[in-house]
Point group: C2
Amino acid sequence: MRECTGVAQMRTGSITQSIARTFANFLTVVKKHNAIDCKYSVRTVWNGKRCARMLKKRTTLKDIARETGVHVSTVSRALDPATRKAITPEVAEKIQAAAERLGYRPNRIAAGLRTNRTMTVGVMIPDITNVIFPPILRGIESVLEPLGYASIIVNTDSEKERESRLVDVLRDRGVDGIIHTAALRSDPSIARAAEDGLPVVTLNRRVENSRIPYVINDEDGGIRDMLAHLRDLGHRRIAHIAGPQDLSTGQLRLAAFREAMADLGLGGSDRSVATAMRFHEHQGRQCAEMLLESGEPFTAILCANDRLALGAIEALRERGIDCPREISVTGFNDMPFLDLIRPKLTTVRIQQHSAGATAARLLLDLLGNGADDVPLETILPVELVIRESTARCPNG
Amino acid sequence: MRECTGVAQMRTGSITQSIARTFANFLTVVKKHNAIDCKYSVRTVWNGKRCARMLKKRTTLKDIARETGVHVSTVSRALDPATRKAITPEVAEKIQAAAERLGYRPNRIAAGLRTNRTMTVGVMIPDITNVIFPPILRGIESVLEPLGYASIIVNTDSEKERESRLVDVLRDRGVDGIIHTAALRSDPSIARAAEDGLPVVTLNRRVENSRIPYVINDEDGGIRDMLAHLRDLGHRRIAHIAGPQDLSTGQLRLAAFREAMADLGLGGSDRSVATAMRFHEHQGRQCAEMLLESGEPFTAILCANDRLALGAIEALRERGIDCPREISVTGFNDMPFLDLIRPKLTTVRIQQHSAGATAARLLLDLLGNGADDVPLETILPVELVIRESTARCPNG
DNA sequence: CTGAAAGCGCTAACAC
DNA sequence: GTGTTAGCGCTTTCAG
């Protein structure tokens, strides 16, 4: 059963071209992720019966109109809570009963064509695989779903071309609005959509030269608080591992770091700043090594994000430098699972779920479900989370 | 700027009720996640200009028909690659040029109403926040998106009632098909949808008494391999922390454990099995404690999932028992970030991205974009990942 | 090869 | 109160 044959096992059905092709796909899969060798074969069992691909016709307003002997529009009215009051109670009840009995479900896409409201919103994120986005999505969903909105989520991979294509994809599907998480710095496609009157809210980043409402975290406050914390522990020489400068967070946090250092009178040379190309452990490690080799002395590293911090700690460990005893390291975001990793990282918690919920509420306002005037800028509070990766400065 | 006022700061705009309400929401947010105290106020800056909520009319086929002096149907034909060949080349070119110039984008909603194909699929997952699902989603997207499909993702939270409502939500939106990740064991709503002719594929679990194609991982093989690995290390007394028995994975893995233990001649008492209510570290810890207190001797714990294993290791550490020196612990799934946690967990890697891609391909086949005969069962291979949490049995 | 016309399922003016 | 009518934007016969 689990021998290295590389041949799909079938119970019924004939070997058609499509089967061959399908199986070829599986082989490709196995090959591509070549972590997996041929120890197991992919097993497939065939369904003998040809799938009856006949979509059972849904019951429509017309059906229930015929059933109850009234006009479609009456049915429509009786079924819409907003217009039901204009209908004789008995008739309305009869109609509702029939609808129930026939299992009527409104066809939102037909309704959408008529009303120009699909009750669907688009959500653009860089990559769902990045752990900070799922909570944001749940936050968005938590306010939109109860109101009957569904969301189409797309991953931009932070690629300009892909992103602009996806904006079009969403518009083609007639979304009522778009929540854009981590838009690019200058973002013509989303700006154009907004100009065309499509409600748009951005999260984590502001689109320059636009009046698109945005919600961001108090990056500045987070950095300041973290720096104050380090200073209180006696640290004076503090290095920074900055994030990618083409991403909002990377840029904002670096700026905040420089400013706050100056304000605290700790302004150092730029040799105590290393900039990562990506928010990745590996980059954090490299940057930490660069900092160590620069010769610039420091007793703490403030990192622009948790993953960079994790990498930095790894680099220190490899050189036999203890964190936090010799060098304190801090992160940003408070991503999930952080408390399982030793030493537990001191970091800045950003609101994830709430950020999503807030953006969603803004979008609703834009959609006219409430305010007709909407805040341009919303800054969400952050919170310092002190754990084990920071300690009193050794010579402080 | 960052004082504890609790009052939103505004630049322009008047304090209307809606503003007050919106701000009340923010306060609620802050309150609810009361991890965040009043150290920072939420700042909002108001956009003075009332948003012009006039959706610019999109250009339609009619527009470009008028522009080029031909009939809408001709335009429709000229713009569809499949029917373009039936059009005089010059006319077709003129039409395409006009479409380009006017920035024409087909209205998929309208097309969908006509053709009954929305080029949208529904994807149901328990919870996007669970790290194993995002890669699955990317896998699905990787095959569907290039073909022009968008997906509506919904979180069921594994609640029956919610799940069945969401199936309806998806159907109302006219999705062409549904990929259901971790459906419930007996799942009337999705079964009904499938019976009604809606293409459905399930991932991770089979819906009983149905002909719904499903793709699952080789749970059995994974457990067997892990057990063989432990046996090779000299372990004979092996405990199991099982997952929730109402979830496919929990149930399958427990059954596989029992069977494989028997096959290896290691069959133990049921006192060496503890069952978690949820796949959560906390539960893993509790179960490990139960096992230790049971008095049943063991030198290894095979856990139904990584998170349980992480919890178990935590429990051991608290009691001063070293993993892996004294007791080996193993996981399942190989979730992201596992290699950052010490000791690095020995586990079974399941295909995540590929599983999604495979399910998507099956759905495509069901949609008629290929085969008309589709495998009922597809079992994906798994791979043993040996890291640091397993070691030779101390007295072995 | 192209135009005319019907209609997908629903909503919303406007009559009566 | 309820029926009539006219589309939303597109596809797809059916004529010519």
